[in-house]
Amino acid sequence: MNLKLKVWRQKDRNSEGRLVDITANSIPPEASFLEMLDIVNDELTRKGDEPIAFDHDCREGICGTCSLSINGIPHGPSETTTCQLYMRKFSDGDTIYIEPFRAKAFPVIRDLCVDRMAFERIQQAGGFITARAGSAQDGNAILVPKQNADLAMEAAACIGCGACVGACPNGSAMLFVGAKVTHLAELPQGQPERQRRVLSMVAQMDKEGFGNCSNYYECEAVCPAEIPATVIAKLNREYAVAGAKDTVGVE
Protein backbone atom coordinates (compact mmCIF):
# COMPACT_ATOMS: atom_id res chain seq x y z
CA MET A 1 0.00 0.00 0.00
CA ASN A 2 1.04 3.60 -0.58
CA LEU A 3 0.58 6.19 2.12
CA LYS A 4 0.96 9.93 2.55
CA LEU A 5 2.72 10.67 5.82
CA LYS A 6 2.80 13.99 7.61
CA VAL A 7 5.71 13.54 9.99
CA TRP A 8 6.87 15.93 12.73
CA ARG A 9 10.50 16.82 12.03
CA GLN A 10 12.50 18.73 14.63
CA LYS A 11 16.29 18.96 14.69
CA ASP A 12 16.74 19.18 18.45
CA ARG A 13 14.97 20.37 21.59
CA ASN A 14 15.82 24.03 20.91
CA SER A 15 14.74 24.08 17.26
CA GLU A 16 11.30 24.78 15.85
CA GLY A 17 9.58 21.70 14.47
CA ARG A 18 7.10 21.28 11.62
CA LEU A 19 5.09 18.65 9.79
CA VAL A 20 6.84 17.37 6.67
CA ASP A 21 5.12 15.46 3.83
CA ILE A 22 6.74 12.11 3.12
CA THR A 23 5.37 9.35 0.91
CA ALA A 24 5.60 5.72 1.97
CA ASN A 25 5.46 3.41 -1.03
CA SER A 26 4.98 -0.37 -1.32
CA ILE A 27 4.26 -0.93 2.38
CA PRO A 28 3.12 -4.52 3.08
CA PRO A 29 -0.04 -4.69 5.25
CA GLU A 30 1.67 -7.21 7.56
CA ALA A 31 4.39 -4.68 8.47
CA SER A 32 4.14 -3.14 11.91
CA PHE A 33 3.92 0.66 12.13
CA LEU A 34 7.57 0.82 13.19
CA GLU A 35 8.59 -1.46 10.31
CA MET A 36 6.78 0.93 8.00
CA LEU A 37 8.94 3.73 9.43
CA ASP A 38 12.04 1.52 8.95
CA ILE A 39 11.13 1.12 5.26
CA VAL A 40 10.60 4.89 4.94
CA ASN A 41 13.94 5.53 6.68
CA ASP A 42 15.77 3.16 4.30
CA GLU A 43 14.38 5.13 1.40
CA LEU A 44 15.30 8.48 3.04
CA THR A 45 18.86 7.23 3.73
CA ARG A 46 19.23 6.02 0.14
CA LYS A 47 18.26 9.47 -1.05
CA GLY A 48 20.79 11.03 1.33
CA ASP A 49 18.13 12.56 3.63
CA GLU A 50 18.11 12.39 7.42
CA PRO A 51 16.10 9.37 8.63
CA ILE A 52 13.15 9.99 10.98
CA ALA A 53 14.20 9.59 14.63
CA PHE A 54 11.72 7.52 16.68
CA ASP A 55 11.91 5.56 19.92
CA HIS A 56 11.74 1.75 19.83
CA ASP A 57 13.22 -1.19 21.68
CA CYS A 58 11.65 -4.60 22.31
CA ARG A 59 9.04 -4.38 19.52
CA GLU A 60 6.99 -6.88 21.54
CA GLY A 61 4.70 -4.41 23.31
CA ILE A 62 6.24 -4.88 26.74
CA CYS A 63 9.01 -2.32 27.19
CA GLY A 64 7.09 0.96 26.81
CA THR A 65 9.75 2.62 24.69
CA CYS A 66 7.83 3.27 21.51
CA SER A 67 5.77 6.38 21.47
CA LEU A 68 4.29 8.43 18.62
CA SER A 69 0.85 9.85 18.24
CA ILE A 70 -0.83 8.61 15.10
CA ASN A 71 -3.63 10.85 13.83
CA GLY A 72 -3.67 12.60 17.21
CA ILE A 73 -3.97 9.39 19.25
CA PRO A 74 -0.99 8.01 21.20
CA HIS A 75 -0.04 4.56 19.80
CA GLY A 76 -2.68 5.03 17.11
CA PRO A 77 -6.00 3.35 16.41
CA SER A 78 -5.63 0.17 18.45
CA GLU A 79 -5.29 -0.60 22.14
CA THR A 80 -1.67 -1.68 21.80
CA THR A 81 1.74 -0.08 21.62
CA THR A 82 2.86 1.42 18.30
CA CYS A 83 5.13 -1.59 17.68
CA GLN A 84 2.13 -3.91 17.85
CA LEU A 85 0.06 -1.81 15.46
CA TYR A 86 -0.01 -3.31 11.97
CA MET A 87 -0.44 -1.49 8.70
CA ARG A 88 -3.53 -3.55 7.86
CA LYS A 89 -5.33 -1.12 10.19
CA PHE A 90 -4.85 1.50 7.43
CA SER A 91 -6.00 1.67 3.83
CA ASP A 92 -4.09 2.35 0.63
CA GLY A 93 -3.86 6.10 -0.02
CA ASP A 94 -4.47 7.13 3.62
CA THR A 95 -2.91 10.31 4.99
CA ILE A 96 -1.35 9.64 8.40
CA TYR A 97 -0.25 12.34 10.84
CA ILE A 98 2.70 11.18 12.96
CA GLU A 99 3.61 13.44 15.88
CA PRO A 100 5.53 13.01 19.14
CA PHE A 101 3.62 12.67 22.45
CA ARG A 102 2.60 16.21 23.34
CA ALA A 103 3.07 17.56 26.86
CA LYS A 104 5.26 20.29 28.30
CA ALA A 105 6.83 17.77 30.68
CA PHE A 106 7.81 15.60 27.70
CA PRO A 107 10.01 17.95 25.61
CA VAL A 108 10.81 16.82 22.06
CA ILE A 109 14.46 15.79 21.71
CA ARG A 110 14.41 15.10 17.98
CA ASP A 111 11.63 14.35 15.47
CA LEU A 112 9.35 11.84 17.23
CA CYS A 113 11.51 11.22 20.32
CA VAL A 114 10.48 12.88 23.56
CA ASP A 115 12.33 13.10 26.88
CA ARG A 116 10.33 10.99 29.36
CA MET A 117 12.83 11.28 32.22
CA ALA A 118 10.11 13.09 34.23
CA PHE A 119 8.56 9.63 34.81
CA GLU A 120 11.88 8.33 36.13
CA ARG A 121 12.17 11.25 38.56
CA ILE A 122 8.62 10.61 39.81
CA GLN A 123 9.56 6.95 40.38
CA GLN A 124 12.74 7.99 42.18
CA ALA A 125 10.67 10.22 44.46
CA GLY A 126 8.82 7.25 45.96
CA GLY A 127 7.91 4.49 43.51
CA PHE A 128 9.90 1.85 45.34
CA ILE A 129 10.07 -0.16 48.57
CA THR A 130 13.00 -0.28 50.91
CA ALA A 131 14.06 -3.91 51.36
CA ARG A 132 17.17 -5.48 52.79
CA ALA A 133 19.01 -7.05 49.87
CA GLY A 134 20.52 -10.51 50.07
CA SER A 135 18.18 -12.00 52.63
CA ALA A 136 14.91 -12.47 50.82
CA GLN A 137 12.45 -14.48 52.86
CA ASP A 138 10.22 -17.19 51.49
CA GLY A 139 7.70 -15.59 49.11
CA ASN A 140 4.82 -17.61 50.57
CA ALA A 141 5.52 -16.30 54.09
CA ILE A 142 3.78 -13.03 53.23
CA LEU A 143 0.10 -13.65 52.66
CA VAL A 144 -1.59 -11.36 50.14
CA PRO A 145 -5.37 -11.59 49.72
CA LYS A 146 -6.27 -12.56 46.13
CA GLN A 147 -8.32 -9.39 45.63
CA ASN A 148 -5.38 -7.15 46.57
CA ALA A 149 -2.93 -9.23 44.53
CA ASP A 150 -5.18 -8.83 41.46
CA LEU A 151 -5.48 -5.05 41.91
CA ALA A 152 -1.73 -4.71 42.44
CA MET A 153 -0.97 -6.87 39.40
CA GLU A 154 -3.37 -4.92 37.22
CA ALA A 155 -1.66 -1.64 38.20
CA ALA A 156 1.81 -3.15 37.91
CA ALA A 157 1.12 -3.85 34.23
CA CYS A 158 1.93 -0.17 33.52
CA ILE A 159 4.92 -0.04 31.15
CA GLY A 160 5.49 3.68 31.67
CA CYS A 161 5.20 4.54 27.98
CA GLY A 162 3.58 7.93 28.61
CA ALA A 163 0.61 7.47 26.24
CA CYS A 164 -1.68 8.59 29.10
CA VAL A 165 0.12 11.94 29.22
CA GLY A 166 0.11 12.22 25.42
CA ALA A 167 -3.64 11.56 25.27
CA CYS A 168 -4.65 13.80 28.17
CA PRO A 169 -5.93 17.22 27.06
CA ASN A 170 -4.32 18.54 30.26
CA GLY A 171 -1.00 16.71 29.92
CA SER A 172 -1.69 14.96 33.22
CA ALA A 173 0.38 12.01 34.47
CA MET A 174 -2.16 10.86 37.02
CA LEU A 175 -2.86 7.49 35.36
CA PHE A 176 0.87 6.67 35.52
CA VAL A 177 1.29 7.90 39.11
CA GLY A 178 -2.02 6.27 40.09
CA ALA A 179 -0.81 2.92 38.71
CA LYS A 180 2.51 3.12 40.57
CA VAL A 181 0.88 4.19 43.86
CA THR A 182 -1.90 1.57 43.60
CA HIS A 183 0.56 -1.21 42.79
CA LEU A 184 2.52 -0.73 46.02
CA ALA A 185 -0.36 0.43 48.26
CA GLU A 186 -2.19 -2.86 47.62
CA LEU A 187 0.73 -5.02 48.79
CA PRO A 188 2.04 -5.63 52.32
CA GLN A 189 5.56 -4.75 51.15
CA GLY A 190 4.39 -1.27 50.21
CA GLN A 191 2.87 -0.39 53.59
CA PRO A 192 5.85 1.06 55.53
CA GLU A 193 6.36 3.88 53.00
CA ARG A 194 2.74 4.19 51.86
CA GLN A 195 2.05 7.70 53.21
CA ARG A 196 5.41 9.20 52.30
CA ARG A 197 5.32 7.60 48.84
CA VAL A 198 2.11 9.19 47.62
CA LEU A 199 3.00 12.63 49.00
CA SER A 200 6.47 12.57 47.41
CA MET A 201 5.34 11.20 44.05
CA VAL A 202 2.52 13.75 43.70
CA ALA A 203 4.86 16.59 44.74
CA GLN A 204 7.36 15.48 42.06
CA MET A 205 4.58 15.08 39.49
CA ASP A 206 3.46 18.68 40.13
CA LYS A 207 7.06 19.91 40.04
CA GLU A 208 7.60 18.33 36.62
CA GLY A 209 4.78 20.46 35.23
CA PHE A 210 2.20 17.77 34.46
CA GLY A 211 -1.42 18.94 34.39
CA ASN A 212 -4.40 17.98 36.50
CA CYS A 213 -6.86 15.22 35.67
CA SER A 214 -10.29 16.51 34.71
CA ASN A 215 -11.80 13.06 34.18
CA TYR A 216 -11.91 12.90 30.40
CA TYR A 217 -10.67 9.28 30.71
CA GLU A 218 -8.81 9.57 27.39
CA CYS A 219 -5.81 8.03 29.20
CA GLU A 220 -7.47 4.70 29.98
CA ALA A 221 -8.80 4.54 26.40
CA VAL A 222 -5.29 4.69 24.89
CA CYS A 223 -3.36 2.79 27.59
CA PRO A 224 -1.76 -0.25 25.94
CA ALA A 225 -1.55 -1.97 29.35
CA GLU A 226 -5.28 -1.33 29.95
CA ILE A 227 -4.72 0.42 33.27
CA PRO A 228 -8.19 1.53 34.46
CA ALA A 229 -8.81 5.17 35.45
CA THR A 230 -9.98 3.88 38.85
CA VAL A 231 -6.28 3.94 39.83
CA ILE A 232 -6.61 7.75 39.71
CA ALA A 233 -9.50 7.53 42.22
CA LYS A 234 -7.23 5.36 44.36
CA LEU A 235 -4.41 7.94 43.99
CA ASN A 236 -6.77 10.75 45.04
CA ARG A 237 -7.93 8.74 48.07
CA GLU A 238 -4.39 7.80 49.08
CA TYR A 239 -3.27 11.42 48.73
CA ALA A 240 -6.23 12.81 50.70
CA VAL A 241 -5.67 10.37 53.56
CA ALA A 242 -1.88 10.84 53.56
CA GLY A 243 -2.27 14.63 53.36
CA ALA A 244 -4.73 14.69 56.26
CA LYS A 245 -2.48 12.45 58.38
CA ASP A 246 0.57 14.56 57.51
CA THR A 247 -1.28 17.77 58.44
CA VAL A 248 -2.12 16.53 61.92
CA GLY A 249 1.20 14.74 62.33
CA VAL A 250 0.04 11.10 62.31
CA GLU A 251 2.52 8.64 60.80
Binding site: K6, Y97, R102, S172, D206, P228, N236, G243
Partner: protein, 247 residues
Protein backbone atom coordinates in the same frame (compact mmCIF):
# COMPACT_ATOMS: atom_id res chain seq x y z
CA UNK B 1 -0.35 24.41 58.88
CA UNK B 2 2.52 24.24 56.42
CA UNK B 3 1.55 20.68 55.39
CA UNK B 4 -2.06 21.84 55.01
CA UNK B 5 -1.02 24.66 52.64
CA UNK B 6 1.17 22.29 50.63
CA UNK B 7 -1.74 19.88 50.43
CA UNK B 8 -4.19 22.53 49.21
CA UNK B 9 -1.70 23.92 46.70
CA UNK B 10 -1.03 20.49 45.16
CA UNK B 11 -2.81 19.28 42.02
CA UNK B 12 -4.94 16.76 43.92
CA UNK B 13 -5.62 19.20 46.78
CA UNK B 14 -7.08 21.71 44.33
CA UNK B 15 -9.13 19.02 42.62
CA UNK B 16 -10.50 17.99 46.02
CA UNK B 17 -11.51 21.62 46.71
CA UNK B 18 -13.42 21.75 43.42
CA UNK B 19 -15.12 18.42 44.23
CA UNK B 20 -16.08 19.40 47.80
CA UNK B 21 -17.48 22.79 46.73
CA UNK B 22 -19.23 20.90 43.92
CA UNK B 23 -20.93 18.66 46.50
CA UNK B 24 -22.12 21.77 48.39
CA UNK B 25 -23.45 23.30 45.16
CA UNK B 26 -25.23 20.07 44.20
CA UNK B 27 -26.86 19.95 47.66
CA UNK B 28 -28.05 23.53 47.09
CA UNK B 29 -29.36 22.71 43.60
CA UNK B 30 -31.43 19.84 45.06
CA UNK B 31 -32.70 21.92 48.00
CA UNK B 32 -33.56 24.89 45.80
CA UNK B 33 -35.46 22.63 43.38
CA UNK B 34 -37.50 21.08 46.20
CA UNK B 35 -38.38 24.61 47.34
CA UNK B 36 -39.28 25.76 43.82
CA UNK B 37 -41.50 22.76 43.11
CA UNK B 38 -43.86 24.05 45.82
CA UNK B 39 -45.00 26.37 43.01
CA UNK B 40 -47.27 23.52 41.93
CA UNK B 41 -48.79 23.25 45.44
CA UNK B 42 -50.33 26.71 45.03
CA UNK B 43 -49.57 30.36 45.80
CA UNK B 44 -50.00 30.20 49.57
CA UNK B 45 -47.69 27.21 50.05
CA UNK B 46 -44.74 28.74 48.18
CA UNK B 47 -45.37 32.22 49.64
CA UNK B 48 -45.40 30.81 53.18
CA UNK B 49 -42.25 28.84 52.35
CA UNK B 50 -40.61 32.11 51.24
CA UNK B 51 -41.53 33.74 54.54
CA UNK B 52 -40.20 30.74 56.49
CA UNK B 53 -36.89 31.00 54.66
CA UNK B 54 -36.64 34.71 55.48
CA UNK B 55 -37.22 34.00 59.17
CA UNK B 56 -34.91 31.03 59.67
CA UNK B 57 -33.44 31.07 63.19
CA UNK B 58 -29.98 32.58 63.81
CA UNK B 59 -30.03 34.43 60.48
CA UNK B 60 -29.99 31.05 58.70
CA UNK B 61 -30.80 32.55 55.32
CA UNK B 62 -27.75 34.78 55.45
CA UNK B 63 -25.56 31.92 56.64
CA UNK B 64 -26.71 29.92 53.59
CA UNK B 65 -26.29 32.90 51.24
CA UNK B 66 -22.77 33.70 52.42
CA UNK B 67 -21.87 30.00 52.41
CA UNK B 68 -23.14 29.59 48.85
CA UNK B 69 -21.29 32.66 47.58
CA UNK B 70 -18.10 31.38 49.21
CA UNK B 71 -18.62 27.91 47.68
CA UNK B 72 -19.27 29.35 44.20
CA UNK B 73 -16.24 31.66 44.37
CA UNK B 74 -13.95 28.90 45.66
CA UNK B 75 -15.26 26.48 42.99
CA UNK B 76 -14.57 29.00 40.21
CA UNK B 77 -11.27 30.35 41.55
CA UNK B 78 -9.79 26.87 42.08
CA UNK B 79 -11.00 25.71 38.66
CA UNK B 80 -9.39 28.74 37.00
CA UNK B 81 -6.08 27.89 38.68
CA UNK B 82 -6.35 24.29 37.45
CA UNK B 83 -7.26 25.38 33.91
CA UNK B 84 -4.27 27.73 33.79
CA UNK B 85 -1.94 24.91 34.89
CA UNK B 86 -3.52 22.47 32.45
CA UNK B 87 -3.10 24.81 29.48
CA UNK B 88 0.57 25.29 30.38
CA UNK B 89 1.04 21.52 30.84
CA UNK B 90 -0.37 20.59 27.43
CA UNK B 91 1.75 23.12 25.57
CA UNK B 92 1.23 23.31 21.82
CA UNK B 93 -0.90 20.19 21.48
CA UNK B 94 -1.33 18.13 18.33
CA UNK B 95 -1.69 19.40 14.79
CA UNK B 96 -4.17 16.60 14.22
CA UNK B 97 -6.79 16.90 16.97
CA UNK B 98 -8.52 13.70 18.01
CA UNK B 99 -10.39 12.35 20.98
CA UNK B 100 -11.22 8.76 21.85
CA UNK B 101 -13.93 8.74 24.48
CA UNK B 102 -14.28 12.20 26.08
CA UNK B 103 -17.95 13.22 26.20
CA UNK B 104 -19.31 16.50 24.84
CA UNK B 105 -20.48 17.58 28.33
CA UNK B 106 -16.94 17.00 29.60
CA UNK B 107 -15.35 19.10 26.88
CA UNK B 108 -17.85 21.90 27.42
CA UNK B 109 -17.43 22.18 31.22
CA UNK B 110 -15.77 25.60 31.01
CA UNK B 111 -18.36 26.99 28.59
CA UNK B 112 -21.34 25.61 30.55
CA UNK B 113 -19.78 26.93 33.76
CA UNK B 114 -19.26 30.46 32.40
CA UNK B 115 -22.81 30.70 30.99
CA UNK B 116 -24.22 29.30 34.26
CA UNK B 117 -22.33 31.95 36.22
CA UNK B 118 -23.78 34.73 34.07
CA UNK B 119 -27.21 33.16 34.57
CA UNK B 120 -26.75 33.02 38.38
CA UNK B 121 -25.87 36.75 38.44
CA UNK B 122 -28.97 37.57 36.37
CA UNK B 123 -31.15 35.27 38.51
CA UNK B 124 -30.02 36.96 41.73
CA UNK B 125 -30.59 40.45 40.28
CA UNK B 126 -34.01 39.32 39.03
CA UNK B 127 -35.56 37.36 41.91
CA UNK B 128 -33.37 38.03 44.98
CA UNK B 129 -32.37 41.68 44.87
CA UNK B 130 -35.27 42.70 42.54
CA UNK B 131 -32.86 45.03 40.75
CA UNK B 132 -34.30 44.16 37.34
CA UNK B 133 -37.89 44.86 38.42
CA UNK B 134 -38.13 46.75 41.72
CA UNK B 135 -41.94 46.26 41.84
CA UNK B 136 -41.44 42.62 42.81
CA UNK B 137 -40.31 43.72 46.28
CA UNK B 138 -43.73 45.28 47.02
CA UNK B 139 -45.96 42.40 45.90
CA UNK B 140 -47.63 40.92 48.99
CA UNK B 141 -49.95 37.99 49.62
CA UNK B 142 -51.36 38.86 53.05
CA UNK B 143 -48.41 38.77 55.42
CA UNK B 144 -46.18 36.96 52.94
CA UNK B 145 -44.13 38.24 50.04
CA UNK B 146 -45.95 37.15 46.83
CA UNK B 147 -43.28 34.83 45.45
CA UNK B 148 -45.85 33.02 43.29
CA UNK B 149 -46.85 36.15 41.42
CA UNK B 150 -43.20 37.13 41.00
CA UNK B 151 -42.44 33.74 39.39
CA UNK B 152 -45.44 33.98 37.03
CA UNK B 153 -44.59 37.57 36.05
CA UNK B 154 -40.91 36.75 35.62
CA UNK B 155 -41.45 33.74 33.36
CA UNK B 156 -44.24 35.40 31.36
CA UNK B 157 -41.39 37.26 29.72
CA UNK B 158 -40.40 34.75 27.03
CA UNK B 159 -36.78 35.93 26.81
CA UNK B 160 -36.33 35.35 30.56
CA UNK B 161 -38.01 31.93 30.37
CA UNK B 162 -35.84 30.83 27.41
CA UNK B 163 -32.64 32.06 29.10
CA UNK B 164 -33.72 30.11 32.20
CA UNK B 165 -34.40 26.93 30.21
CA UNK B 166 -31.10 27.17 28.29
CA UNK B 167 -29.25 27.73 31.58
CA UNK B 168 -30.93 24.66 33.10
CA UNK B 169 -29.93 22.50 30.10
CA UNK B 170 -26.34 23.72 30.59
CA UNK B 171 -26.68 22.98 34.31
CA UNK B 172 -27.69 19.41 33.39
CA UNK B 173 -24.62 19.08 31.16
CA UNK B 174 -22.38 20.54 33.88
CA UNK B 175 -23.88 18.16 36.47
CA UNK B 176 -23.76 15.10 34.23
CA UNK B 177 -19.96 15.42 34.21
CA UNK B 178 -19.54 16.96 37.65
CA UNK B 179 -21.75 14.56 39.62
CA UNK B 180 -19.83 11.55 38.26
CA UNK B 181 -16.43 13.26 38.50
CA UNK B 182 -16.73 14.11 42.16
CA UNK B 183 -16.80 10.39 43.01
CA UNK B 184 -13.55 9.95 41.09
CA UNK B 185 -11.89 13.00 42.68
CA UNK B 186 -13.01 12.10 46.20
CA UNK B 187 -11.55 8.64 45.59
CA UNK B 188 -14.87 6.83 45.80
CA UNK B 189 -15.11 5.50 42.21
CA UNK B 190 -14.45 1.78 41.98
CA UNK B 191 -14.42 -0.55 38.99
CA UNK B 192 -17.77 -1.95 40.08
CA UNK B 193 -19.33 1.53 40.08
CA UNK B 194 -17.47 2.89 37.04
CA UNK B 195 -19.85 1.66 34.36
CA UNK B 196 -23.05 2.75 36.15
CA UNK B 197 -21.80 6.00 37.63
CA UNK B 198 -21.89 7.89 34.33
CA UNK B 199 -25.45 6.78 33.62
CA UNK B 200 -26.64 7.60 37.17
CA UNK B 201 -25.08 11.07 36.90
CA UNK B 202 -26.84 11.61 33.54
CA UNK B 203 -30.21 10.57 34.98
CA UNK B 204 -29.69 12.73 38.08
CA UNK B 205 -28.67 15.76 35.99
CA UNK B 206 -31.60 15.56 33.57
CA UNK B 207 -34.14 14.91 36.38
CA UNK B 208 -32.90 18.09 38.09
CA UNK B 209 -33.13 19.94 34.75
CA UNK B 210 -36.68 18.65 34.12
CA UNK B 211 -37.72 19.77 37.62
CA UNK B 212 -36.44 23.31 37.15
CA UNK B 213 -37.68 23.64 33.56
CA UNK B 214 -41.18 22.48 34.53
CA UNK B 215 -41.86 25.86 36.21
CA UNK B 216 -41.27 28.24 33.25
CA UNK B 217 -42.98 25.69 30.99
CA UNK B 218 -46.01 25.71 33.32
CA UNK B 219 -46.11 29.52 33.25
CA UNK B 220 -45.69 29.74 29.46
CA UNK B 221 -48.46 27.18 28.90
CA UNK B 222 -50.81 28.92 31.35
CA UNK B 223 -50.69 26.13 33.91
CA UNK B 224 -50.85 28.28 37.06
CA UNK B 225 -53.36 29.78 39.49
CA UNK B 226 -54.85 32.55 37.34
CA UNK B 227 -57.34 33.47 40.05
CA UNK B 228 -54.49 34.37 42.42
CA UNK B 229 -52.75 36.47 39.77
CA UNK B 230 -56.05 38.14 38.80
CA UNK B 231 -56.88 39.03 42.42
CA UNK B 232 -53.48 40.58 43.00
CA UNK B 233 -53.25 44.32 43.03
CA UNK B 234 -52.15 45.68 39.67
CA UNK B 235 -48.64 47.01 40.06
CA UNK B 236 -47.58 50.25 38.41
CA UNK B 237 -45.56 48.46 35.77
CA UNK B 238 -46.93 44.94 35.69
CA UNK B 239 -45.79 42.34 33.22
CA UNK B 240 -49.17 42.12 31.58
CA UNK B 241 -49.11 38.66 29.98
CA UNK B 242 -49.34 37.11 33.43
CA UNK B 243 -52.85 38.42 33.98
CA UNK B 244 -54.20 37.90 30.47
CA UNK B 245 -55.94 34.65 31.18
CA UNK B 246 -57.37 35.71 34.57
CA UNK B 247 -61.09 35.16 35.08
Amino acid sequence: MNSCCTFLRSSIGKKLLVAITGVILIAFVIGHLLGNLQFFAGPHVINEYGTKLRHLPFGGLWVVRIGMIAAVLLHIFTTLMLVKENRAAKGAGYQFKASVQAKVATRLMALSGIILLSYIVFHLLHFTTHTINSDYAHWMDGEDHDVYRMIVAGFSNKAVAIFYIVAMVLLAMHLSHGAASLFQTLGLRTKKMACRLGLCAQIFAWVICAGYVSIPVAVLTGFYDKKHIGNAETPSCCEAPATKGAK
